[in-house]
Amino acid sequence: MATIETPRDVTGEVVPVVVPTRRPRWRGLLRSRKLAAGLAVVGFFAVVAVLGPLLVDDPNLVSDDRLLAPSAEHLLGTTTTGQDVFRQLVVATRGSMLVGLVVGLLATVVSVLVGVLGGYAGGHADESLSLVSNVFLVLPGLPLVVLITDYVQTRGALAIALIVSITAWAGSARVLRAQTLSLRSRDYVDAARVSGEPGWRIVTFEILPNLLPLIAAQFVFAVIGGILTEAALAFLGLGGAGSWGTMLYFAQNSQALSQGAWWWFVPPGLCIALVGAGLALINFSLDELINPRLRVARRPRRTGPA
C-alpha cells in the first residue's frame, strides 16, 4: 500500500508525494472473490475458444432441419438454413475471443509506447505524442472503424482486430502518460537518474513495474472494448471473424426475433454479456489494487486468529 510521506528534497523544500513502500500487493489480489469469479468465466471461454472448434463438426453444414428449437440432437436448435447453433456458438467463441485478445495486446503495446515514453521523455516528444493520442481520443471510434472496414479488403479475425485497435489505444495512453509524469519526478527515479542509470533502464526497471497494475487494467479494458466493437461491427454486417456478432447479424437478417427463434440470438448475446462481466470483474479487482480507497473494508472474522 502507498503511504504518504513528506520528505525534503535536495533543495530542502517539503514535498508531499505518494510513494509505494513496496511492490504492489499481488498476493492480496489473489484472495479477491471478484477476481476469482472473473477469471473463472474468462478462463472458461478461453478454453472453449482454444479447444472447442476442434471438438465440434463444421458449423456451416446445412440441413433440412430448419429453425428447430433446442433438442438433444441440436443442443441449441438450428438456424433457417438448418445449421447447428451450438456448433456455431463454439466456433464463434474463438473468433470473438481472438479479436479481443489481439486488440488488447496491440492497444496495450501502443499505449505503453506512446504514454510511457512520451511521459518520461517530456518536451517536444511528449507534446507531439500527446497530440497524436488526443487526436485519436476525439475521433468517433465506431463510425471511423466502420469506414475503414468498408475500404479494407481482407477479412478475418486479425484484420478486424487490427482495425479496431486503431482507435482503442488512445485513452490508455493518456492514463499511462499521466501516471508516468507523476512517477518520473519522484525521488527514487531522481536518485536512479543521478546515480547514472540510463533512460531505458529507468523506464523498464523503475517506472514500468509501478505501472503494471495500471497497464493490466488497461489491457483488460481494451479486451472488453475489442470484443464489443467487433460484435458491433459484425452486427452491422461488417464482420468477418466468424464471431458472436456475426451470429447476431445472421439471426437479425433472418428475422429470428419475429419468428420467435430465441435460441438463435440469445446464446451469442449471453456470451458477450458473460465475457464482458467476467472481464469487468477482473478489472474491478485490479482497480482495487491500484486504488486502495475502492477496496471494501473486510469484515473482521468472528472466529480464528486475526
Partner: protein, 557 residues
C-alpha cells in the same frame, strides 16, 4: 433490390438504437381511415430513417412516389408483362431517320397540378434540360435536340439510333413543368419541396415521420384515382414493419418476410395477400472467363451440374426464389423471346455427370479428393459482398455440394466498395451477383454479354464483368440496335442466335430468379395487380410502376 450498404448500415444502426431504447418509437400511428369513401392507404416502401424532403424526379435520393406518382413519363412499359406498353403523357410515338428521331404525339387536356396547361413544350423542355445537365442524364441518352412542333407534337433527335432505348426515353424520363423549372440553376441539386406534376396524386403534407399524397382532382384520366390518397411510412427495422403489417396498419408494403405464411398471412388470411415479383434479377455465379480454369466450358458446366438449385432456394433464399432459366432471361415474363426448344430447359443437378464432365476434360482426382489438371487444383474463391447473408448462406451450401464432386470453393467476403472495384476491374475468380436489365431482352443480353460493355483485365468494365466476348453475340446485339422495336420477329431472330451461344457455352452459372415480396391487404383496397391481372409491377418503390398501381387501386367495400 438488395439494399445498399448505407441503407443496411442505417437499418442496423437504427435497430441497435431501438434495442437499447434510445429512439422513441418508430413508424407512425398508422391510423386507418374507416369511411368507405376517401381512403388514405398506408404504404411502406422500405424507408428506415427519417424522410428528407426531395421530390426531384431526376434525383436518386427523391422520396418514394416522386417518380410515376407525382411526375409521369410518356409511356409505361409494364415490367410484369412482355410487350405491354401503356400510353401516359404521350398517346403515340414513331421513329424516323433510322431511329435517330423520335416523333411523339402528346396527350391533350392534361394540366399541371398548379392549374397550368401541360403541352409538348414541357416535353421538349425536359429533354433539352437533360441534355444540358449531364448529371441528370443518368441513362446517358444521346439527345441532340427536342422541339415542340405544336402543342400536341414533340420531336427529339439523337446523335445515334435509339431503337433499343425507347424504354429509357419514354418510360423512365419524368416530364417536369417548363414554367417552374426554367429558373432552376442546377436541376441535379434541386430538392423541389413543392412539387408540381401531372401525376394522379399531389403532395398534401410532409414530415420526417411520414408524408401524404392526395388525389389530384384535375387528373387527366377520367375517374382515376379512386382512393383518396397515400400515406408513406417508415420503420426502423424489418421486424417493426412486419409487426405493423401483421397488425393491419399497412395496406401496401414491399418487405422481405421470412416464413410469410406464418408471420403475415395467417394473421388475417382473408385480407393479408402477397405477390412474389420474381422477374427483376437473376442471381448468378459469374466466373472470370479470362482466368483459368473458367476459360473451359467443361469446368463451368461441371460446377453448374453439381449445384442443387432446389436446395439453394429452399435454404438460402427462404424458398421464395424461382428456378432460373439457362437462357438467362426471367421466366415466364420473356417466354415469347426464348427459343422454343430452350424454353423449358432446366439447369440440371447431376453430381455424377459433373465428375464425368471434368474427367473428359482431362481432370483427375488428387489424393485430397479435389480434381486437378497439370498440377493445378480445381479450387477457386468466390467474392461476395460482406453481410449479404442470403448469398453467404448460399455459398456455404455450394461449398458442400462442390466438395462432394471434388471441387473446392472458398468464400471471401469483401466490402461493397471493394466488391464494386474488383468486379469492374476483373480482379476475381468468381463473383456472386445479380444480372438485371433496363426492361428489354436486348438489355438483359447487352448488359451481360456485349463486348462493348467489357474491358481488358485491370480496366473498368461497364456491366459485362465476366469478360465474355463472342463475335456472334456482338453481331446479334448490333442487329437489334438497328431494328425498330415493333419488328418483334426480327428481334426474336437475333435473340435466338444469342441463346444458341449461351446454351452452348454456359458463360455464367445461374443460381436463381430472385424474388421481391410485395404485401397488400384487401381490407381497405381493391384492384391490386395479381398474377392473372398483372397490369403493372406491384413494387411500391420509387420508379415507373408505383404510380400505375396507385391510380388503379379502388377502395374496398
Amino acid at each position: 433490390m438488395r439494399p445498399t450498404l448505407a441503407r443496411r448500415l442505417l437499418a442496423a444502426l437504427a435497430t441497435a438504437a431501438l434495442a437499447v431504447g434510445v429512439t422513441a418509437g418508430c413508424g407512425d400511428d398508422g391510423d386507418r381511415s374507416s369511411a368507405a369513401e376517401g381512403k388514405i392507404i398506408n404504404v411502406f416502401s422500405g424507408a428506415n430513417a427519417g424522410f428528407v424532403p426531395n421530390f426531384n424526379p431526376f434525383s436518386q435520393n427523391s422520396v418514394a412516389g416522386t417518380m410515376s406518382v407525382l411526375y409521369e413519363s410518356l409511356l409505361y412499359f409494364n415490367a410484369a408483362r412482355a410487350d405491354d406498353v401503356q400510353p401516359q403523357l404521350a398517346t403515340g410515338y414513331e421513329f424516323a431517320d433510322d431511329g435517330r428521331r423520335l416523333n411523339l404525339t402528346i396527350r391533350e387536356g392534361v394540366k399541371w397540378s398548379d392549374g397550368t396547361p401541360f403541352s409538348a413544350e414541357d416535353v421538349a423542355f425536359t429533354f433539352n434540360l437533360i441534355r444540358d445537365n449531364p448529371k441528370i442524364n443518368q441513362s446517358g441518352l444521346p439527345i441532340v435536340e427536342a422541339v415542340a412542333t405544336d402543342p400536341t407534337h414533340a420531336s427529339i433527335t439523337f446523335s445515334q439510333g435509339v431503337y433499343t432505348q425507347l424504354n429509357l426515353i419514354a418510360g423512365r424520363t419524368w416530364i417536369v413543368p417548363k414554367h417552374l423549372w426554367t429558373t432552376i440553376p442546377d436541376p441535379s441539386a434541386f430538392t423541389n419541396e413543392k412539387p408540381v406534376g401531372t401525376g394522379a396524386f399531389t403532395l398534401a403534407s410532409f414530415s420526417q415521420q411520414n408524408y401524404v399524397f392526395e388525389r389530384n382532382p384535375n387528373y387527366w384520366e377520367t375517374g382515376k384515382p379512386k382512393i383518396k390518397g397515400m400515406r408513406f411510412h417508415q420503420f426502423a427495422s424489418a421486424d417493426s414493419a412486419i409487426a405493423a403489417l401483421a397488425a393491419g396498419q399497412l395496406d401496401w408494403a414491399g418487405s422481405f418476410i421470412a416464413d410469410i405464411d406464418k408471420q403475415y398471412v395467417s394473421k388475417d388470411p382473408e385480407h393479408n395477400k402477397y405477390i412474389n415479383e420474381s422477374q427483376l434479377y437473376l442471381t448468378n455465379l459469374i466466373p472470370n472467363l479470362e482466368r483459368a480454369p473458367f476459360d473451359s466450358a467443361a469446368v463451368r458446366k461441371a460446377i453448374s451440374l453439381a449445384l442443387d438449385r432446389d436446395q439453394l432456394i429452399r435454404l438460402a433464399f427462404s424458398g421464395y426464389g424461382k428456378e432460373a432459366s439457362p437462357a438467362q432471361l426471367p421466366r415466364p415474363l420473356w417466354d415469347d423471346y426464348i427459343k422454343p426448344e430452350y424454353r423449358d430447359r432446366k439447369l440440371e443437378f447431376d453430381p455424377a455427370r459433373a465428375e464425368q464432365t471434368l474427367q473428359q476434360d482431362g481432370w483427375a482426382k488428387g489424393a485430397d479428393g479435389i480434381y486437378a489438371k497439370a498440377g493445378r487444383r480445381l479450387s477457386f474463391t468466390v467474392k461476395v459482398v460482406q453481410g449479404y447473408n442470403d448469398y453467404i448462406s448460399a455459398l456455404q451450401i455450394m461449398t458442400q455440394s462442390l466438395k462432394s464432386v471434388g471441387i473446392e470453393l472458398k468464400t471471401q467476403e469483401i466490402s461493397f466498395t471493394a466488391f464494386s472495384t474488383d468486379q469492374q476491374t476483373g480482379d476475381f475468380d468468381v463473383i456472386m451477383t445479380n444480372l438485371y436489365s433496363e426492361g428489354t431482352p436486348y438489355s438483359w443480353y447487352s448488359r451481360a454479354f456485349s463486348t462493348a460493355r467489357t474491358a481488358p483485365l485491370g480496366q473498368q468494365a461497364g456491366s459485362n464483368y465476366g469478360r465474355f466476348r463472342n463475335a456472334a453475340v456482338d453481331a446479334a446485339l448490333l442487329a437489334m440496335e438497328t431494328t425498330p422495336p415493333e419488328a418483334k420477329d426480327a428481334i426474336r431472330e437475333q435473340l435466338f442466335k444469342i441463346q444458341d451461344v449461351i446454351m452452348e457455352e454456359l458463360p455464367y452459372i445461374p443460381i436463381q430468379q430472385s424474388s421481391s415480396l410485395i404485401e397488400y391487404r384487401t381490407e381497405n383496397l381493391g384492384n391490386f395487380p395479381t398474377e392473372q391481372n398483372h397490369y403493372a409491377l406491384t413494387t411500391p418503390y420509387n420508379g415507373p410502376d408505383m404510380g400505375i398501381v396507385a391510380k388503379n387501386l379502388t377502395p374496398a367495400g
